[in-house]
């Protein structure tokens, strides 16, 4: 029916259902992917599904944790209508610094202090990178894309310069560095930190004044200004958090890979943005949730695992991911046009 006459529809009801469907479309998609993964999963020798093995499921969680952690803060950045392209480079900086710190002989009293200091230095450096991003974005009012593109290049350079372009390997002996790696590459530590951080970010976004400001600024910055909100401070915080999270992810990266690598994290920003977008956060800001981002990250993780279990060509994997991203955004935009 496409006549020019307005067609009367039970509007409220439609909207309510759509709202409901919209809210859970991410979860539905995740369930769909999980079901698909179960169905297509090859079976182990004892006939059970490989996908459902506890080991495999925790593998997935550990594999998505790094991107997951980065995408938590990225959600905040995108909610304010910004973007942070520098996270991959910041991760590389952090992983380099933590490895450098650990492999230096610091004459500290013990392992614990040494490890804490190294992590502290790495995370601090990453946070400073984030703060600089935030200061430039909020203070000089340059587009976040441009600012973080610049810092993506600059921070990568800094990491390479600090390490002289070489990887800093963390050995497997009995030294501090090896202890650090042994602790932080532990599956449960990685998954646990991701879960804790996800919970924290969820609480901050949904329960705090800051979270409210983040969404308000992204929704309508002009209106936020008229409402007297601390726009600059909010943005500064958001980018700092993004740096902090990338830094923490860098620490985990160093442990997982047993090395500080100035070339690490290339294109991580894109994976993180993809997870955020799949999770239903609008790239123009104002609308989105931490829960959605976690779901988006899980969708990507389960999908990747499913394809790999079936030995799908990694090039096909990329094509399928492309389809998923477009699909997710299509669903979103349909939801919005209601």
């Amino acid at each position: 029916m496409s006549s020019g006459q307005p067609i009367l529809r039970p509007e409220r009801k439609t909207r309510a259902t759509k709202h409901y469907v919209g809210r859970f479309s991410g979860v539905m998609a995740l369930l769909g992917v999980v079901l698909l993964a179960i169905v297509t999963s090859p079976s182990a020798t004892d006939g059970s599904s490989i996908f459902l093995q506890a080991g495999n499921l925790t593998d997935i969680l550990r594999q998505i944790a790094l991107i997951g952690i980065i995408s938590l803060a990225m959600t905040f950045v995108i909610l304010t209508g910004g973007i942070d392209l520098s996270v991959g480079s910041v991760l590389a900086l952090s992983t380099s610094i933590v490895a450098m710190g650990l492999t230096r002989n610091w004459q500290t009293t013990g392992d614990a202090t040494h490890i804490l200091l190294a992590i502290g230095a790495a995370v601090l450096a990453a946070t400073i990178a984030g703060i600089v991003n935030g200061l430039v974005v909020a203070g000089l009012r340059i587009q976040p894309f441009v600012v973080t593109l610049a810092s993506m290049i600059g921070v990568r350079g800094l990491a390479k310069w600090l390490t002289d372009n070489a990887n800093i390997d963390i050995g497997f002996g009995q030294d501090t560095a090896a202890h650090f790696a042994a602790i932080f590459r532990e599956k449960m530590v990685v998954i646990g930190s991701y879960c804790l951080l996800a919970a924290a970010f969820w609480v901050v976004l949904s329960r705090t004044v800051f979270g409210r400001y983040v969404r308000a600024v992204g929704d309508n910055e002009t209106a936020a200004r008229y409402a007297g909100l601390p726009i600059r401070r909010t943005k500064l915080w958001v980018y700092s958090l993004s740096g902090l999270m990338a830094g923490f992810a860098g620490v985990l990266y160093a442990a997982e890979n047993h090395q500080g690598n100035p070339n690490a994290g290339v294109a991580y920003e894109l994976d993180a943005i993809a997870a955020v977008v799949i999770g239903g956060t609008r790239l123009s800001g104002g609308k989105g949730s931490v829960f959605g981002t976690v779901v988006g990250t899980l969708i990507m993780g389960v999908l990747t695992n499913m394809l790999r279990l079936n030995n799908v060509d990694s090039n096909v994997e990329m094509m399928i991911k492309a389809v998923i991203i477009i699909l997710a955004v299509t669903i979103q935009s349909q939801r919005e046009s209601d």
Binding site: S25, A29, G32, L36, V39, T40, P42, S43, A44, T45, I50, Q53, G55, N56, D59, Q63, L66, T163, D164, N165, A166, N167, D169, I170, G171, F172, R185, Y253, E256, N257, H258, Q259, N261, A264, V266, T304, N305, M306, L307, R308, L309, N310, N311, V312, D313, S314, N315, V316, I320, V323, I324, L327, T330, I331, Q334
Partner: protein, 329 residues
């Protein structure tokens, strides 16, 4: 409605793709079939692409072996994840060409713990978490290059003197360090041979061309350019040719891949004076693999070293032909 249709489309596409490409090890009536998983670091490198191709070709001669190759796209985390997934699938043999030494150490250990035979190909890891390590020797190649340079300069000037430029790969990478050290070790014995510059071109032809262009402006006379891989040597050649100085010097590379884009062809074309084959190690690997699979009780040696070959205009055509017919040169 539209959304539903879209979702349906996507789901079915996924299913089709994943099912059509799925390859599970199945035991058939004829006997045991073997599942060999190969985790490749980065398909995009020609050397590694050649490895894949050769491995596929050689394993296709054993009909009971099913080979699956995954591509980590030069990403440590991705390769770790891929190996983890392979471990879940319990292959009969796991071959890993590690992207980086430290990164893959732990996960290869996990594979060993899961009682999977692991062949570590070309690049080792920090701990001996493998059944066997099959590699070539970059240090020896470096020395061979050094000696070749000395011989060339002696022939040119009557005694070992002259200027050498080294075009270095990505710093910190083992191959780069060893190829560099090997050559330096030899050249250091001849004080009249000067290493005038060693720019870093990250293995990339385009970067090497840029670095060389800069260098040619500064260096009035260059006798030898030693590219740590063939593309960099070719890049340097292109830069010199652009400035009309390519006749003044010779270009030496390492890798010696076959095929029309490989270094061997470049030697045939007179672009490179020589290239030193960095062996794919695949023939050896497949041989060992077949032994592991088919000979119960076979214990591979902990390490196999595959020797390099020098390719000059004399033997280039023969090597090229050989590589075309699919052998390991």
């Amino acid at each position: 409605m539209k959304r539903f249709a879209l979702a349906l489309c996507a789901a079915s596409t996924l299913l089709c793709v994943s099912c059509s490409r799925s390859s599970k090890p199945v035991a058939t009536r004829e006997g045991k079939r073997y599942f060999v998983a190969f985790s490749q670091a980065n398909n995009a490198e020609p050397y590694r692409a050649a490895q894949n191709a050769l491995m596929q070709k050689l394993f296709s001669q054993s009909p009971d072996v099913k080979l699956v190759i995954s591509d980590a796209q030069q990403d440590n985390s991705k390769q770790i994840a891929q190996v983890e997934t392979f471990i879940r699938q319990k292959p009969d043999l796991l071959i890993v060409a590690p992207n980086e030494r430290a990164a893959l150490t732990v996960v290869m250990g996990q594979a060993m713990e899961a009682r999977i035979a692991v062949i570590c190909l070309e690049r080792d890891v920090l701990l001996p978490n493998y059944s066997t390590y099959i590699h070539s020797d970059n240090l020896a190649i470096g020395r061979m290059v050094g000696q070749f340079i000395v011989d060339h300069l002696t022939k040119k000037y009557g005694k070992p003197r002259g200027t050498v430029v080294a075009m270095r790969g990505l710093l910190g990478v083992e191959a780069e360090i060893k190829r560099d050290n090997g050559a330096k070790e030899v050249l250091a014995k001849y004080p009249d041979i000067k290493l005038v510059a060693a720019p870093v071109a990250d293995w990339i032809q385009a970067k090497a061309k840029d670095r060389m262009t800069e260098l040619l402006r500064v260096q009035p006379k260059i006798d030898v350019v030693y590219g740590h891989n063939d593309p960099m040597a070719v890049g340097a050649y292109l830069a010199a040719k652009e400035l009309g100085r390519e006749k003044e010097m010779i270009f030496v590379g390492v890798d010696g891949l076959g095929g029309p884009a490989g270094g061997v062809k470049k030697v045939m074309d007179g672009v490179l004076a020589a290239t030193f084959i960095y062996p794919l190690c695949v023939e050896q690997a497949v041989q060992v693999a077949n032994q592991i699979l088919h000979q119960p009780g076979f214990r591979p040696a902990k390490e196999y070293t595959v020797q390099s070959t020098m390719v000059t205009s004399e033997n280039a055509a023969k090597v090229y032909e050989n590589s075309q017919s699919g052998g390991e040169q």
